[in-house]
C-alpha cells in the first residue's frame, strides 16, 4: 500500500530534553490515522516536525512521497494543518484568513470565493461578518483554523486535537466532513484525547508515550492483539501503563 507519510528514526530534542525519540511512523494513503498519547508524550512536537514548524534533530521522513526538508514548499502545497494553537491572525476576519491562505496557494479568485463561501457556511462562520478573529470564541477560532486547512483541498490533513473545545453540532459536522474527505481519497492524521471519537473515526492508530512509539497498526489488529473486545480507551491505558489503578485514590476527597 502506498503511504501518505513515513518517518524513520524521527527525533527531536530541546536542550537535554528528548521530546521525540526515534519514531517510525507509517500512515497509509486514504486512512484516518489517530495519533494518541498522554499529555506531554510528544504528539504536538511530532506534528510540528512533520509540518515543518520544528526542525527534526534526527531521522528522515517523506510526506506524499516527497522529502519535506528538500522541498518544503511543495509539501506545504499538498497538506493542510490545524495546529494545536490554531495559528490565526487576530486582526483578520474568517473570510480574510481564507483569502490569505488561498492567495498564497495561488488559487483563482472564483475558486477561492466559492470554496470560502461553502466553508464559512458549513462552519457557521458566515454570520461573523467582518468581526475579527480576536473577538471570536474558541470554537469559532477552531472552525476558522480547520476551514483554512481545508481550503486548498489538501491530500493530507494534520489535525491537532480537532474535537476539543467545540460544541456537539460542530463536532458532528467535522466528523462527517472528515469521513467524507477520507472516502474521497484524502488522508487524515489527527491527535485527540477524545478516545471514543477516535475509535469511531480512525482505522489506524499510533500510540506515543514518553517520546517513543509504543504501538502502530490498524485498529482492528491492535484490538485483537492487545485486548480483544475492549474499548480503545482500555487498549490505550494498557499500552501507556496507566490502567492498573496504581494512582493515588485521594481518600480525603468527599469526606
Amino acid at each position: 500500500m502506498e503511504h501518505a507519510l513515513t518517518t524513520q528514526g524521527l527525533r527531536r530534542v530541546f536542550g537535554d530534553f528528548v521530546a521525540v525519540e526515534g519514531i517510525d511512523l507509517t500512515v497509509p494513503r486514504g486512512s484516518m490515522y489517530g495519533f494518541l498519547g498522554p499529555n506531554g508524550a510528544g504528539k504536538s512536537t511530532t506534528i510540528k516536525c512533520l509540518t515543518g514548524l520544528l526542525r527534526p534533530s534526527g531521522g528522515a521522513m517523506t510526506i506524499l512521497g516527497i522529502d519535506p526538508s528538500a522541498e518544503p514548499e511543495r509539501v506545504k502545497r499538498l497538506v493542510g494543518v490545524m495546529p494545536e494553537d490554531l495559528a490565526l491572525f487576530d486582526h483578520l476576519s474568517a473570510a480574510e484568513t481564507l483569502a490569505f491562505v488561498g492567495q498564497i496557494h495561488g488559487m483563482p479568485a472564483a475558486t477561492l470565493r466559492s470554496r470560502s463561501a461553502e466553508l464559512l457556511a458549513l462552519m457557521d462562520l458566515a454570520e461573523a461578518g467582518s468581526q475579527l478573529v480576536a473577538d471570536y470564541s474558541h470554537g469559532m477560532k477552531k472552525k476558522t483554523s480547520l476551514a483554512a486547512a481545508l481550503l486548498p483541498a489538501p491530500k493530507l490533513l494534520f489535525l491537532d486535537e480537532p474535537f476539543e473545545g467545540i460544541d456537539a453540532i460542530a463536532s458532528r459536522q467535522i466528523k462527517d466532513l472528515l469521513l467524507d474527505y477520507v472516502r474521497h481519497g484524502g488522508t487524515v492524521f489527527l491527535t485527540s484525547h477524545v478516545l471514543d471519537v477516535v475509535e469511531r473515526l480512525c482505522d489506524h492508530i499510533g500510540v506515543i508515550h514518553k517520546g517513543r512509539l509504543v504501538a502502530q497498526e490498524p485498529l482492528a489488529e491492535m484490538r485483537a492483539r492487545v485486548a480483544p473486545g475492549e474499548t480503545l480507551e482500555s487498549i490505550f491505558l494498557g499500552l501507556v501503563g496507566a490502567g492498573g489503578g496504581t494512582s493515588a485514590r485521594l481518600d480525603w476527597l468527599g469526606g
Binding site: L53, H91, I104, H105, A109, L112, E127, S130, L132
Partner: protein
Amino acid sequence: MIRLLRAFAALRWRLFVNGLRGRRRDALEQVSRISRLFVLAVVALTFAPTSLMLALLAGAGGWGMAQGNERAAFVLIGARAVLGLLTVLVVVSPILRFGGSASSMSRLALLPIPRALLWALEAAAQLADPWILAIVPALIAFPIGLAAGGDPAGAAIAAVVSLVALAFLVALGSLASLAGALLFRNRRIGEYVAIAVLALVSVVGYLPILARRALPTGAHPRESVPVVDASRYPWLRFAPWEQAASAAEAAASSRKSEFALPLAGLLATTAVLAGLSRWSFGRLLDAPPGRGARGRRSEARLRSIPGLSPGAAAIAVTTFRLVLRSVRGRVMMFSAPLPVLMIGVIWKKLAAVSASGAPGGVIMLLLGGLLALVSMQVFLADQFAVDRAGLTLTFLTPVSDRDLVLGKAAGALAALAIPTTFVMVAGAILQPAGSPLLWLAALLSIAAAYIFQAPVSALLAALLPAPFDLMKLKGGNGHPLATIASTFMTLVVFTLTAGTGVLLFVATRSAWAPLAGAIVLVALALAVASLLFPAAARAVSLRRENLAMIAQGR
C-alpha cells in the same frame, strides 16, 4: 489575612522572577533576552537618581522649615508640581496599558478570598507603579527632615499627610486602571478611547501657542515668564496636590491646626476614589467581556499588487491590515501627522516661515516623513513577531522566505504612505509654496530612506524578535536593541537622502537638482536593498522555529 498577603507577595515575586528568566532555546536567543533585560535595567535605574534627588530635596526642605528658614518652604512649590504631574500620570498610564488585569482577576476571584480583600490587593499593586514608587522616598523624607529639624509634632502630622497623599495616588491609579479595564472590555471602544487620549496628549502641548495672537510682520515675540496667580483660580484650593501641600505647609508652620481642613478634603477625595475603584472592581468581575461588532458580511477576496507574487501580495495586504486595525498601528499612523499639522498651523499663524521664502510645505512633508518613519520603527524592528499566532499560519503555507520579507516591506510601505500623504496634503494647504518638482523630490527622498532601511529592519526583526501584541497598548514592545538600531539606521539614511536634496537645492536654487539627486538615491537604495533582502530572507529561514515560538510568547 497575613497568610493571604504572603501568598500574594509570593505570587507577584514568582511572576516577576519567571518573567525575567524566560526560555532560552539557543545562544542567539539568550543574547537577545539578556540584551532586552539590560536595556530595561538601564531604564529602571534612571528612576533611582530622580527618586533620590526628590527625597534629598524633601528632607532638606523639611529640616529647613523646622529651623524657621522661609526659603525652605519653596520645596512645597516643587511638591505641588510633582504631585500635580503624578496625578495626571497615574490616570494616563493605566489607559496606555488597558486590558491587562481583568483576566487574571477573574481567576483569582475563584479562590476563597473576600472580594474586598481582593480589591485591596489589586489597589495595593499600584504601589509598584514606577511613578508612585519614585516619590515614596520623598514622602518619607519630608517628615523625617521636620523631625530632625526639631519639630516632632509637625513631623507626625506631615507623616499622616504623606500617607494620605500616597493613598490618594493609589486610589486614583486603581480607579483609572479598573474603570479603564471595565470600559475597555469591548476591544473596539477601548481602542478608540485610548487613541483619543493619546491624540489629546500629543496635541495639548501646542494649545498655548495656538491660542496666541499672530504677530505683526517684523515683530519679535517678547520673552516673558508665565506666572500663575493662584488667587485667580479658586478651584485650585480643592486640587488634591494643593490640599496635600497646604496640609504639609501648615504642619511645618506655627499654624498647625490649619492642617485639618485640607487633610480632611484630601481624605474625602481619596475615600470617594477608593469607593469608585471598589465599585468598578465588582463590575469588572461580574460583567462579561464585550465582543467587537459583527458588521457587514465579508467575503474572501484576492488583492493582487503589481510587481509582487500572489504570496508576497497576501503578506503585504495582511501586514497593512495589521497596522490599520491594531491600536498600536493606529497610534503610529497619527503620531507623525498630528505634531506636523500643529507645527504647520503655528507657522501659518505666526507667518514666520512664509515670510522667509522657505518652502514650508516641503519642510512639513520632510518632517512628517521622518516622524512617520521613526514612529514605525517599533513595528518594523519586530515585523515578524508582531504577527503572533499568524506567523505560524504563514509558516504553514507554501510562501517563500523571500516573498515573506518582500511582502512585509511592501505592506509597511503602504502603511507609511498614509501619514506621509496626510502631511503632504496638510502642507499643501497650509504652506503651498514651492515647485511641484521639489515636492516630488521630498517624497522620493522619504521613499529612498525607507528602501535603504527596510531590509536592515527585516534582518534585525529576524535576529532579535520579541513577543509584541500590536492589538493592545499593553502588548509589550519590540526588542529594544533592534528598535534602537533600526531607528538609528533610519536617522542616518534620512539625513543622507533628505540632506542631499536640501544641499542640492541650496547650492543650485533649482528644483531639478534635488529631484535628480532623489531619483539617483532611490535607484541606489533599490540596488542596496536587492543585495540585503536575500540576507534578511536567509535570516528568517534560519530563525523560523524561534520566530514562531517567540511570536506566541513562548
